[in-house]
């Protein structure tokens, strides 16, 4: 299941990371090296094994659906690269 350059470009696009064309070949080799090493997992007999997603046995706790914090838009937008009047400023996405 070798990773080719086209796959690297596709994955970089899915991950929203611009990878310059001159990096693609080196990345392809690196990722192939890592994925080839990972292939050894195929040796493990996992028939009947339940996927382990959480080591915490308890179910997720529930709480009342009420506002516990908030009302501080100036704090929320305080680290924004661009903000105006407590709103995030983002590029236009609807033509």
């Amino acid at each position: 299941m070798a990773i080719d350059a086209a796959t690297v470009r596709k994955v970089a696009r899915l991950a929203r990371i611009a990878e310059p064309e001159e990096r693609i070949e080196a990345l392809t080799q690196e990722l192939n090296g890592i994925m080839t090493w990972i292939e050894q997992l195929a040796e493990v007999d996992t028939d009947g094994a339940e996927p382990l997603t959480s080591v915490v046995a308890a179910g997720l706790p529930l709480r009342e659906d009420v506002v516990t914090m908030g009302g501080e838009p100036q704090v929320v937008t305080g680290n924004a690269p661009k903000s105006v009047s407590n709103f995030f400023v983002v590029p236009k996405v609807v033509e």
């Binding site: 611009a18 990972i38 997992l41 195929a42 493990v44 996927p51 915490v56 706790p61 995030f88 590029p91």
Partner: protein, 490 residues
């Protein structure tokens, strides 16, 4: 007042209680030591004014008889913990100017108990690395050097700044985090004690996320008792973290020094890996002998899926990281680069804001979660993770704790492993299993290799049984009599 920085945390707290010195004096001594040690690059942000304010407030509390368990003790904070009003970067460019509006639960707990913050400590970018070399602010240099050598060594990673600061007496203890070994491997490389508690013991709220099902906070300290003291304060249920365990926190210090007579200690044969230095095997044998001497029963055990833990980790952790780090989009906080349209802004921001190792892991994570590969990789890794947890479940029917080396080598030179990702990943071969299974693991220094560099032993315990881990660690600490410190060259 350099003698004050040589104290253990316990020694300092006792000295404060006896009014031998004030927290302001103790804190000032550490601030001076930090200024004199900038060449180590352990602190990426010093907060001396805040430290002295906190110290003065502590002295005032103590004068009124209101001192908390850590009152007046100056600590360092890994720069992965959000600190209110104090820049928190995860040692990345994308968060280079991020100033949190809130305090992490773990650090809040430390300040509640009276501790003083000296500053923020260097780490591998987003805690992804085993040598501190992926930090945007440059690597930390290990205070330890090999005998007759000036070569700069890694303090390990990702909590390299925390470990180096404790080893060089630049704080009495430090917060750290561990996703695959990031507390224990640096502790082993620097002759310090570090514990990753049971998953859920410490709240993850306000800790910059890497891989949420594996991330766990813990302390790095000078002694086993100091680590227990710090973990007492750091632990506890937190409604803001849904995976935080709603269980009481015992006084962990009570377990240090307790007899280990009759405890069954497992020695897993799969941890005898090819190419392990003879000195590490010998240290492990010494550990077994010390525990036997202390009355433990040694039991050879098998953890048959050990060799598959790292490859499973390198699917699970990047998958979770790719999801967690999707939040860095350049819109709400952090760096924003320009582009012709929204997608380009995202892509340019993330290309510029993340380092190579972080990008590599995001790409792997995105790949293993992408359509057509999810079952083959991600689901398979979760099933292997189940097998690893079952290995430990089986072991606990025969033993009370497990003894292993912490890392497969002593500290290596900066730059030595940085061109081969897999060689770097193998540093975590002995530590990553406990993250996958959610178990507590502690590393303590137990000896020096032929080059005079510290080596660590790891004790793994049952879920929520940090108590036994601390007892076994206390017994080894006593038997090993490890008192070596790095010779000051910085």
């Amino acid at each position: 007042m350099s003698a004050l920085t040589k104290l253990t945390l316990k020694g300092a707290i006792d000295g404060l209680a006896a009014k031998d010195f004030t927290s302001v004096e103790l804190t000032k001594a550490h601030i001076d030591a930090i200024e004199g040690a900038r060449g180590l690059n352990a602190y990426i942000l010093e907060t001396p004014e805040q430290a002295l304010d906190m110290a003065a407030a502590s002295d005032a509390r103590r004068a009124k008889g209101e001192a908390g368990p850590l009152d007046g003790a100056p600590l360092g904070v890994k720069d992965l913990f959000c600190t209110k009003g104090v820049r928190t970067t995860a040692c990345s460019k994308i968060l280079e100017n991020f100033v949190p509006a809130y305090e992490s639960t773990v650090t809040s707990n430390l300040w509640r108990d009276g501790a003083v913050m000296l500053g923020k400590l260097n780490l591998d970018q987003f805690a992804m690395g085993s040598s501190n070399e992926t930090s945007y602010f440059g690597p930390v240099t290990n205070p330890w050097r090999a005998k007759d050598s000036n070569k700069a060594l890694t303090p390990g990673g990702s909590s390299g700044g925390s470990a180096a600061a404790v080893a060089a007496d630049l704080c009495l203890g430090a917060t750290a985090t561990d996703t695959g070994g990031s507390i224990r491997q640096p502790a082993a490389f620097t002759g310090t004690v570090g514990i990753k508690p049971t998953y859920g013991r410490c709240s993850r709220w306000g800790v910059v996320a890497f891989a949420s099902s594996l991330d766990q906070a813990g302390p790095i300290a000078k002694t086993v008792e100091d680590a227990a003291l710090l973990l007492n304060s750091m632990s506890g249920h937190d409604e803001k973290d849904s995976t935080s365990l709603d269980v009481p926190t015992p006084d962990f210090t009570q377990f240090v020094g307790k007899s280990v007579k009759g405890l069954r200690i497992g020695v897993p044969k799969e941890y005898r890996v090819d190419g392990m230095p003879a000195e590490i095997q010998k240290l492990w044998d010494d550990g077994v002998a010390w525990l036997k001497e202390a009355g433990c029963e040694i039991v050879e055990i098998s953890l048959p899926h050990t060799k598959y833990a790292l490859p499973a980790y390198y699917i699970v952790a990047p998958a979770e990281a790719s999801s967690n780090l999707a939040r860095y989009d350049g819109m709400r906080y952090g760096l924003r680069e320009e582009g012709a349209n929204l997608a380009e802004i995202y892509e340019n921001t993330r290309a510029s804001g993340f380092g190579d190792e972080v990008k590599r892991r995001i790409l792997i994570g995105t790949y293993v979660l992408s359509a057509g590969y999810y079952d083959a990789y991600y689901l398979k890794a979760l099933k292997v993770r189940r097998r690893i947890a079952e290995d430990f479940d089986n072991a606990w029917t025969k033993v009370d704790a497990i003894l292993t080396p912490t890392a497969p080598s002593a500290a290596f030179g900066l730059g030595e492993n940085s061109s081969d990702p897999i060689a770097m990943y193998l540093n975590d071969v002995f530590t990553v299993t406990t993250n996958l299974a959610g178990l507590p693991g502690l590393s303590l220094p137990a000896g020096l290799d032929a080059n005079g560099l510290p080596l660590g032993l790891q004790i793994i315990g049952k879920p929520l049984d940090e108590g036994t881990v601390f007892s076994v660690a206390g017994a080894i600490e006593k038997a090993a009599g490890f008192t070596a410190k790095a010779d000051k060259w910085w």
